[in-house]
């Protein structure tokens, strides 16, 4: 076991983890943050995307020990009370989710994308979210949601 200290959704957290423990399972099983979904085992689908020090990271491909000393944000850390994060609000309004399994990952990847590029073109959105897969929406409304979030100033 290795001791790690990190900040998760604004709260300081100390934990003992097995060195082989993946960040995704650490968040889910040890911290109970079930919004981080695991959709594949090859870093392909992006359902497990979280922010580590503000950058989107596929948490299935990072060991928990690598997040030692970092600031981690999961989907649970986005809303302010009842008020959704602007990107969450945009996904809701644009019907950008159906089954919802990929949604936390898409929302966090979008936040990271808009931070880097607050006004992306459609091509930039499509290329920027290439690492996240969705089987339900055909991506159409996800792209619209990212555009709406950008208009709402989510990346500012």
């Amino acid at each position: 076991m290795t001791q790690i200290v990190l900040t998760v959704n604004g709260s300081r957290c100390e934990a003992d983890v097995e060195p082989r423990q993946l960040l995704a399972y650490f968040l889910r099983d040890q911290l109970g943050l079930k919004g981080t979904n695991v959709g594949c085992d090859t870093t392909s689908c992006g359902a497990c995307t979280v922010l580590v020090d503000g950058e989107s990271v596929k948490s299935c491909t990072v060991f928990a020990v690598q997040a030692d000393g970092c600031e981690v944000t999961t989907v649970e850390g986005l809303a302010q009370g009842e008020e959704l994060h602007p990107v969450q609000q945009a996904f809701h309004e644009q019907h950008a989710l159906q089954c919802g399994y990929c949604t936390p990952g898409f929302v966090l990847a979008t936040i990271s994308l808009l931070k880097e590029n607050p006004n992306p073109s459609e091509v930039e959105i499509r290329d920027g979210l290439e690492g996240n897969l969705c089987r339900c929406t055909g991506y159409h409304n996800i792209v619209k949601a990212v555009q709406a979030a950008a208009r709402a100033g989510a990346g500012a």
Binding site: N37, T42, C99, C136, T137, H140
Partner: protein, 732 residues
């Protein structure tokens, strides 16, 4: 299921076959069981009979899948043993330590080879043919009157359904001996019956709960894994849980499509189709489950949107040493559409006629419904020419043809292709019944209970809208409950795009009944006649006709009825049964093809989809978008392939070409509504339309782009490699 607390649950890990076809000479679990708290179970520990295929007519019952492989494995992924452990990591470690002694057998991967019956998967049955569809009899005169006859082959390649949430199941036996199963499923009520039947239990002893499920696409029907999890909970007396990894899901979750479709189509020189023959060779994988039945659906829909006087269909389903084939978004109908639409384009090319014009000359006319095709389908309603004309206008067909002509004249490297697909499909194909119940809550809202199930389709919103509109309630006051067999009396679940047209209709009828019951109660309270009570839907108030001041709101009615212990009167249940409906549409794809490298880029896809009356256009359009993406994925990207020994070559998301947002454009969905007379909503299904329409449109577009090069067909997926190959072959 992974989110359920389930104190003390044990983890299930399956030991799966690494070989496609082998006898199992022995299983040594000693090393695995040396790990802490690990237990290994094999077929020798089973006290259940084989889990046979679903009772589809005509499927050989001797080719069912055993719950655990007995003596022989038939595909990579077949289950050999079960590891029970305290946690996932130990389970994975232990599964790797289970030593299986295989005696390899020759594997048969190609359906064509399988049909020769040289390598048999079930030697005791004596053949690999699991089912037949249509008729093997040939009418020698079928094409006798035809001036032009064309033929060709479409291989509707094998696809992995890939719901983003892999399957998961958990089960627990309560103190009363009843077992509760939480399943990542589409069909909780049917699962309960099959589980009870397979485990030898009274259905009352089984409760199935379908929680939030992350996509199904037809693949999440009850399979052996779920049965084993429930059996284990009973046998071990402890809660158990299983969640598949993606790599496991890619070989263990049933696949879709995998049909070889050979067409012969003939007609007159002026473009009238007179006869059509379709031969289907369906790969059903290692066991005969739903896949073996699919040629029946393909055959039923063979005629497409065309009035074809004479049709012959012959289908065979054969076993191969591959993952079993089952339902996947469209299930048999995309195959029908893919082949007839290629056949029509091939016919048009032979005649030198515009493919839109050939279609116009053969549509079943708008005034011919109800219409029975020569392939024995009874279409309820449609306007196929209307859909095509709308799509042609929306895409700007003539301008695109001009642009194409210019590029051809310039001999440009990148050529334009325009592909048309006109489709009709069948929803609620087997005349099913669905259950709906509506009750008024103490605060004057309503609960809708449905036997249908939602795993991303948004029934929670659509069904609430149906009830809210009828009762004059705001949408947020209506809650939809689903998926718990203890709470909902009965149901069939969701598949085949049938939910709204029967489940939504049942909920609507139950809401109508509740309104009538409310009128009676209000009449009692106001000392009026029920016939004189009317609903003001905008105000959510029931009042005396002609005098809105004498009335009562839903909230006050519920409150008063609660106090009087009469609230239970405001509850009604309904079942609704109806025949199949036939949604239809026209898709037009525009592609750019690099004729040097073969690279294909889909520039546009215009989709006219008519599913009758739309309850919630936003949700319906979302279904179309996702459906189109899957259809395009088949046309351009995905293909689940095996090597000649039956080893999967595309068994992860790295190897399998699941398209991302960067691979696809935005869609141009165009609404059209031709209500069906078969249910009070006028609604048909929409969940699979996009998929069925899109693949042939894109496929035809790619071939269209290459026509000047002498290319007459491109294999699916029409990706760079297959386009390049087609170009090389045309040069030779």
């Amino acid at each position: 299921m992974e989110n359920l607390p389930l104190e003390g649950a044990l983890t299930v890990t399956f030991v799966r076959s690494l070989l496609a076809h082998a006898k199992i000479a022995g299983i040594d679990a000693t090393a695995a069981e040396a790990l802490p708290n690990v237990q290994v179970l094999t077929a020798a520990d089973m006290d259940l009979g084989p889990y046979g295929p679903p009772p589809f007519p005509g499927v050989n019952p001797g080719m069912g899948r055993p719950l655990l492989a007995v003596d022989r494995v038939r595909f990579v992924g077949d289950i050999i043993a079960i590891v029970i452990s305290d946690d996932r990591a130990t389970g994975v470690d232990a599964a790797e330590l289970v030593s299986v002694d295989y005696d390899p057998l020759p594997a048969v991967v190609s359906p064509h080879e399988s049909a020769k019956d040289e390598v048999l998967l079930f030697p005791e049955v004596g053949t690999n043919v699991a089912a037949r569809a249509g008729s093997p009899e040939h009418d020698e005169e079928l094409f006798g009157e035809c001036e032009v006859v064309v033929s060709g082959t479409v291989v509707s390649q094998r696809m992995a359904p890939c719901p983003l949430e892999p399957r998961s199941a958990a089960a627990e036996v309560g103190p009363d001996g009843r077992v509760t199963a939480w399943l990542s499923t589409q069909t909780p009520h049917q699962d309960r019956m099959v589980l009870a039947g397979t485990l030898g239990l009274d259905p009352a002893q089984v409760r199935v709960i379908g929680p939030d499920v992350g996509g199904g696409f037809g693949a999440k029907m009850l399979n052996v894994e779920e049965v084993l999890v429930v059996w284990l909970a009973r046998r071990l007396g402890r809660p158990v849980r299983w969640t598949e990894t993606r790599s496991e899901s890619m070989v263990a979750l049933p696949h879709g499509r995998a049909a070889r479709l050979e067409f012969t189509l003939g007609g007159s020189r002026d473009g009238k189709v007179l006869a059509y023959r379709l031969e289907i060779l369906q790969d059903c994988g290692g066991y005969a489950v739903l896949g073996a039945f699919l040629p029946n659906l393909t055959g039923l829909m063979a005629s497409g949107v065309y009035a074809i006087p004479r049709i012959e269909v012959e289908g065979r389903s054969v076993l191969t040493n591959t993952t079993p084939i089952s339902a996947f978004r469209g299930a048999g109908r995309p195959e029908a559409s893919q082949v007839i639409e290629r056949a029509i384009d091939t016919f048009a090319a032979e005649l030198g006629m515009d493919p839109a014009e050939v279609r116009r000359r053969n549509f079943i006319p708008k005034d011919a419904f109800p219409y029975t095709t020569a392939s024995h389908a009874n279409y309820d309603s449609g306007d196929y020419e209307g859909a095509l004309e709308l799509a042609l206008r929306s895409v700007g067909y003539e301008e695109l043809r001009d642009e194409q002509r210019q590029l051809r004249e310039q001999a440009a490297t990148t050529q334009l292709g325009i592909g048309i697909s006109c489709y009709v499909e069948i929803t609620n194909g087997i005349d099913e019944t669905e259950f709906g119940e509506v009750e008024i809550t103490p605060d004057g809202g309503a609960i809708v209970r449905t036997g249908s199930f939602s795993h991303g389709q948004g029934h929670e919103t659509t069904f609430a809208m149906i009830a809210a509109e009828r009762l004059g309630l705001p949408l947020e006051k209506v809650t939809v409950h689903k998926g718990d067999t203890d709470e909902i009396a009965k149901g069939t679940g969701t598949y085949g795009s049938k939910s709204t047209q029967i489940g939504g209709a049942a909920a609507g009828l139950a809401a109508d009944d509740v309104l009538e019951l409310a009128k009676q109660l209000v009449a009692d309270y106001l000392e009026a006649s029920p016939a004189d009570i009317v609903l003001d839907p905008a105000a959510g108030r029931l009042h005396v006709a002609g005098d809105p001041s004498i009335g009562i709101s839903w909230a006050d009615l519920a409150s008063r009825a609660s106090a009087d212990e009469r609230l239970a009167e405001l509850k009604a249940e309904r079942e609704f049964k109806a025949g199949p409906t036939f949604p239809f549409g026209a898709h037009i794809a525009v592609v750019e093809v690099d004729t040097e490298t073969g690279r294909v880029e889909l520039r546009r896809l215009v989709a006219v989809d008519d599913a009758g009356t739309l309850i919630n256009p936003l949700i319906a359009e979302g279904q179309v978008h996702g459906g189109i993406a899957t259809g395009v994925a088949q046309a351009l990207y995905e293909n689940f392939v095996y090597d000649e020994d039956g080893n999967p070559l595309t068994g992860t998301f790295v190897g399998y070409a699941f398209p991302s947002s960067a691979d696809l454009p935005s869609w141009e969905a165009v609404e059209m509504e031709t209500p069906t007379p078969l249910n009070p909503l006028g609604a048909k299904g929409i969940g699979e339309s996009g998929t069925i329409g899109a693949t042939p449109a894109v496929h035809n577009a790619v071939v269209d782009a290459l026509t000047p090069f002498g290319v007459r067909n491109v294999d699916l997926p029409a990706n760079g490699e297959n386009v390049w190959r087609a170009l090389q072959e045309a040069k030779e």
